[in-house]
């Protein structure tokens, strides 16, 4: 419902930039031009406040992961204290309760590979099909899929749970994987991206050369779609890796928990009177849970930022 109503300011930049080259620029009155304004210390300091706010809990997490359980309770949170116990904590986290953390990690990886991988594949195929071909009911498909974004997860969760439980799927990995396969946002992004990145003439040329549609898609369209695919993959990976609500409903057996549910179970155990206080494990486990995603975002930023920028062109 969003993209159809907004006018597209797409590609407005290209002709303007060409004009700029042809017409000589008026001499800038100040030393710093519009393109390269003077850096501002005040603005940098103000923005640093937001960065501090962002980093505060993360810094606390890193510092706390280096502390033993007694030090955790007895020393100020934002500075190191006592013995440097990070490696001990990691070993303990991984081995606690018969290496259940590793089991949760493997479950999460399973859900991510099949769920996010599958969601990306479906979104890419469908986005390409919708952007590059005409068929009856295409507009209806778009309206329904984008409208689905507004449906609350719980409105779906309860009936999905009941349906899956009748099919005998609850408490199995499929209950988490199958609903993860649909990413309306991914479809929207791939739709916009395919429309921009794959020229129709190229597809037509391939057809004239006798290339089948499937072959054309894999040989010609797919490489052009790469930045968009990385973006969708990253966002579906984050959504699956961080998913809490869906497994909470679907999975009762701790052996099929993803990391998020497992950490929450440890925290509940630590918070319950009489339960074994394993706050150091909750904290170290949390750190281990976020490190892979943070690393992925940092390493792949060139890709997802260009992909998102392309998506925003049509917003």
């Amino acid at each position: 419902m969003t993209a159809t109503t907004t006018p597209a300011p797409a590609r407005a930049g290209t002709p303007d930039r060409r004009d700029r080259v042809r017409t000589p620029l008026p001499r800038p009155r100040r030393r710093h031009s519009v393109d390269r304004p003077r850096r501002s210390v005040t603005l940098t300091l103000l923005s640093s406040l937001v960065v501090l706010y962002t980093l505060l809990p993360l810094a606390w997490l890193v510092v706390s992961a280096t502390k033993t359980q007694p030090d955790l309770l007895g020393s100020p949170g934002l500075w190191f204290s006592g013995r440097f116990a990070l490696w001990d904590n990691i070993t303990q986290t991984l081995s606690y309760d018969h290496h259940v953390f590793l089991r949760w990690l493997l479950n999460t990886l399973l859900y991510v590979v099949l769920g996010a991988g599958g969601a990306t594949l479906l979104a890419v195929l469908a986005g390409y099909g919708l952007a590059k071909f005409d068929f009856r009911g295409k507009k209806a498909v778009f309206a329904v899929v984008i409208g689905a974004v507004a449906v609350p997860a719980t409105a779906l969760a309860v009936p999905t749970f009941l349906m899956f439980s009748k099919m005998g799927l609850t408490n199995t990995p499929w209950a988490v994987i199958i609903p993860s396969l649909v990413s309306p946002f991914g479809l929207y992004l791939m739709w916009v991206f395919s429309a921009e990145a794959v020229p129709a003439e190229l597809l037509e040329a391939a057809r004239v050369d006798g290339s089948g549609e499937v072959r054309t898609f894999f040989r010609i369209a797919l490489p052009l779609l790469a930045p968009g695919i990385v973006t969708v993959l990253l966002f579906t990976v984050v959504a699956t890796w961080n998913n809490y609500f869906l497994p909470l409903i679907m999975i009762k057996d701790p052996n099929w928990y993803p990391l998020t549910l497992g950490l929450n179970a440890w925290n509940d155990q630590a918070a319950t009177a009489g339960g074994q206080p394993v706050f150091n494990l909750v904290i170290t486990g949390s750190l281990l849970t976020i490190v892979p995603l943070v690393a992925a975002f940092l390493l792949l930023q060139r890709y997802w930022q260009s992909g998102l920028a392309a998506g925003s062109v049509k917003e």
Binding site: T54, W60, F135, A309
Partner: protein, 307 residues
């Protein structure tokens, strides 16, 4: 995955009519796998939900058709309205604060006047990669008055700060967690939209003698109105669905977060603790309709102003 796509006839693109028919099936073939799963996990549950909402499971007589009785019950249910009022308040306060900060950061980044712009952009976005569970656990620890940041501050300065997890402050504390999680994401939406504004507009404005603030008000903000509307719609939907943060905090502070704290938490409790699936489905549908109406109304308003 592409079974539905018939083989393309070799080199006959000249016959437009046949090409047209062929493409009809090809496009649908590419979309088919997505649509099949979509029907299973979106359309079927919604239909099933509506079906369930028309029945009641009674001790005597089993499952009986009750028409709109469940909806009547929801309309008169104080727990539902209580939760709805709470997420409404949350929406009214948290969303403007979060989007306001995100917009300021995006404008600061886009102005090119920051030292270390890339560092700012990536750092502010980082929380998006942190699961709600971990974010809530971290802030839950920081909020702690026994140990945690609040306790540290109390001890260092010899003061007693109000307990962020007490019943009258917890909504704000949850708002802070959600704000922390999503400032970066929204900032990125705004920033991406700002980047595609042609720089010739700024040059023209500079020649006319417009200052930075004038450029922001007259060029940048109108240009990214679409992005702002979309971010707001997503935030409205997110607020109405508030579940993870209160649900994770609940075991720590059962007095502050009740089982009907938000409509989603209420639905969850009804379905999984109370075994009232029919009524849970009804509440979920009512909530879904409220969400869509508010989101759609906002979008219409936002878009009309643009014209």
């Amino acid at each position: 995955m592409t079974v539905a796509a018939p083989p393309a006839p070799p080199g006959r693109s000249g016959r437009a009519r046949f090409a047209r028919v062929r493409r009809d099936w090809t496009g649908l073939g590419f979309a088919a796998p997505f649509l099949a799963v979509f029907a299973l996990v979106f359309l079927a549950p919604i239909a099933y939900s509506v079906y369930l909402s028309l029945f009641q499971d009674r001790l005597i007589g089993g499952t009986t058709f009750v028409g709109i009785a469940n909806y009547r019950q929801a309309v008169d249910d104080p727990q539902f309205w209580d939760g709805l009022g709470r997420v409404g308040l949350f929406l009214a306060v948290q969303v403007p604060v979060m989007l306001g900060i995100a917009l300021l950061v995006a404008l600061a980044l886009d102005s090119g006047r920051l030292y270390g712009r890339d560092f700012f952009r990536i750092t502010v976005f980082l929380p998006y990669a942190v699961p709600a569970v971990v974010a809530t656990l971290m802030w839950g620890f920081l909020y702690g008055t026994r140990f945690g940041l609040v306790a540290d501050l109390d001890r260092s300065f010899g003061i007693t700060l109000p307990d962020p997890l007490s019943p009258h402050l917890i909504l704000g504390s949850i708002g802070n967690i959600v704000t922390w999680e999503f400032i970066g994401y929204n900032m990125l939406i705004f920033y991406s939209a700002l980047r595609v504004i042609p720089s010739s507009l700024y040059e023209a404005a500079a020649i006319d003698g417009a200052g930075q603030w004038r450029i922001v008000a007259a060029i940048k903000l109108p240009a990214i109105r679409g992005a702002v509307v979309i971010a707001t719609v997503f935030s409205i939907i997110g607020s109405f669905q508030l579940f993870n943060e209160p649900s994770i905090l609940r075991p720590l502070v059962p007095d502050s977060v009740t089982t009907s704290y938000t409509p989603n938490l209420y639905t969850y409790s009804l379905a999984f603790s109370g075994r009232q699936e029919d009524y849970a489905a009804t509440v979920a549908i009512v909530m879904g309709v409220v969400t869509m109406v508010v989101a759609y109304a906002f979008q219409l308003r936002g878009m009309r102003k643009e014209a």
